[in-house]
């Protein structure tokens, strides 16, 4: 059976949950980050199975958009090559976005990621992943970060020292409002990073997949 990245996030989260009884929170965080990084091998094996993109998977971007700052290389790299239960997967085996109807319709995860980002992340990273005086622009960070690095950072946090002072991102490893939507956030930020999604709220969306509903229920625990 192919291990999807969504399952990976579930596994990471559940591991955190069961470990909670035995470990302090501080101890779990590095474990979570480690699990995220250790999964690279699984994913790259999966990547070799990837089928070439078919026409239905091609993204239809808004031809009039001027705010997205489209990056042709990333648009190509993040192109979906297959879809499983409403979740789009790129050639590296990582979750990605899907846009149709001239940029008006987004896949469920990109839409959900927009919502979750503007609840959990924007209070530091600014609206539309544009960055702030306080934290970096994730639309730029996601040009570089792999899926595994991304999940590792949100689970384990991050610290930067600079001449102006320290900046610290908290570990969200035990925050279900973030970890249960790690894939959603990742897909949304990838769409912002490649410029596929302009600075808009996604209007139309694909229906919420049954798989997303089930995963959410299981992850949130009722």
């Amino acid at each position: 059976m192919v291990v999807t990245s969504g399952m990976l996030a579930d596994v990471i989260y559940k591991m955190g949950e069961t470990s909670l009884h035995y470990l302090s929170k501080a101890a779990i965080r590095p474990v979570l980050a480690f699990v995220a990084l250790a999964s690279v091998a699984t994913l790259s094996v999966h990547a070799q199975d990837a089928k070439p993109a078919d026409a239905a998977l091609a993204n239809q971007l808004d031809p009039n958009d001027k705010s997205g700052e489209q990056d042709p290389k990333l648009l190509d790299k993040y192109q979906a090559v297959k879809v499983e239960d409403g979740k789009y997967i790129d050639k590296d085996g990582a979750p990605t976005y899907h846009i149709s109807n001239d940029g008006k319709k987004f896949d469920w995860y990109a839409y959900s990621g927009y919502r979750r980002y503007h609840a959990e992340c924007h209070v530091c990273h600014g609206p539309d992943a544009m960055g702030s005086t306080y934290a970096p622009a994730l639309k730029d960070s996601l040009k570089r970060l792999s899926y595994e690095e991304f999940v590792g950072i949100i689970a384990g946090g991050k610290k930067n020292e600079s001449a102006g002072g320290q900046s610290v991102m908290p570990a969200f490893g035990d925050n279900k409002n973030v970890m249960c939507y790690a894939d959603d956030l990742y897909v949304y930020l990838k769409a912002r990073a490649s410029g596929a999604m302009p600075r808009i709220r996604p209007g139309d969306k694909e229906e919420k997949p049954e798989a997303a509903r089930a995963a959410e229920k299981e992850c949130l625990g009722g």
Binding site: S67, H118, V123, S132, Y134, P170, N177
Partner: protein
Amino acid sequence: MRAVHLLALGAGLMASAPAFANEDVLKRTANPAEQVLQTVDYANTRYSKLDQINAGNVKNLQVAWTFSTGVLRGHEGSPLVVGNVMYVHTPFPNIVYALDLDQDGKILWKYEPKQDPSVIPVMCCDTVNRGLAYADGAIILHQADTTVVSLDAKSGKVNWSVVNGDPKKGETNTATVLPVKDKIIVGISGGEFGVQCHVTAYDAKSGKKVWRGYSVGTDEQLIIDPTKTTHLGKPVGKDSSITTWEGDQWKTGGGCTWGWFSYDPKLNAMYYGSGNPSTWNPKQRPGDNKWSMTVFARDVDTGMTKWVYQMTPHDEWDYDGINEMILTDQKVDGKDRPLLTHFDRNGFGYTLDRATGELLVAEKFDPVVNWASKVDMDKSSKTYGRPLVQAKYSTEQNGEDTNSKGICPAALGTKDQQPAAFSPKTNLFYVPTNHVCMDYEPFRVTYTPGQPYVGATLAMYPAPGSHGGMGNFIAWDGVKGKIAWSNAEQFSVWSGALATAGDVVFYGTLEGYLKAVDAKSGKELYKFKTPSGIIGNVMTYQHKGKQFVGILSGVGGWAGIGLAAGLTDPNAGLGAVGGYAALSNYTNLGGQLTVFALPN
């Protein structure tokens, strides 16, 4: 020389008669050469009697000297001046500098606390700190990690320190403290982390806890008398808070106390407001959620609640009620009344009788406010004192997973913590405001201790159909409930105003300008662009007979986060994207004090 004398007097009082502490503060706040409280005076008027710099000569203002704080984060609050010494604070790591005004700001001492950096990301919206207070020879610092420290003003040595909360549970601090009588009164932040918030009084001499009153909780926790404490003239009754929450949700109820405190010595009462109920998803917490979003009047000795007034029952928009309560004595209908005026996040300017808690005025101080048609002022009405919520803008009525559009104001409020000023010469309030609206979509969230607990997606944009800017600086008549004049600003005005006897009102802008306007007309008289955006409060003092004006620059706070990249209007179609100014095109991070004076 006078400063030395005053310092000695302060030290003497501390040794012999701590109960007179407020007299030290009262005496010093009556001397306009000094500034010992962030709020300028106990009444929070932010009015200075200094008048050397006036409407006629302010255009000649020049930079006298500057000082870099060495920290590049949002700089809120202002320095203090006691005698010939200026005390400057910084955002996290909360450094305190004592600067010698006799020697161009030579550093007399520096205090830098050691704090766990894990507190940084727990602070919603930047690591700001709204400043120090001085009383009885001590400088009081309330750090980000909730440690309250009393420092010897002369040496910077620690007199005592006490820990008020636990950052691991999301409890942090950004606020200043209120030194009153023999106590230091402090608040706490953490509304986005489900903290059950409170105010706490510590003994000014020892740091020993005297009382703690919660915003949300049991009668005992609240320090409330069901038969004597009133809400709009009527006793609140038994369990007035916990019966307005479902189950034990009140235990993670919020109602945080991160704003300003005012104090009336005659009534022996302190005044402040409580913040939002946790979470931002109203569907998840049915009920009025008392006493979040509430004006509190408490006895400073016992903490007993005299009266409460809940402005936004069952909040659906994050309209924290923490903004300052400005105490004035004015005539209402020909009668002298002790008043309390408050410019709430929710866009209403309230005037109450501060002795009784009677609601006198509640009017919109920005005409675009639309979430409520008005506040019901009919005493015989069932909904007396409540805002009449417009169904279209009710995120509760529209429900979870529905995006309610075009709500004015946005969650940051028509005004946030940036304090207003009041001039007894004009009887006008000078109010820095936001002119921003939002779309708000609540959804279900789960609670994890020490983790944010938000539960809503927001998009903000400049008020539609207006001047396109994101702020106004207005003059407000608190008795009539009317705007006297209004100056449009490109960005939200996130700087505390200062009114002076020279008929000049000062404020800073997010681009970094210090501005001086005419108190009567609002006409701009002077502006100067400082190195970074201003979210600090303007202060003034007199040294060797000469008046100075000081302002901290250092963009950040929620303004720096929300406006750095510029806003877009999600309802205006793609053509409008990028049509609004990005703060990052005007200014950059900084941390600097700029002091102004007239040429010799």
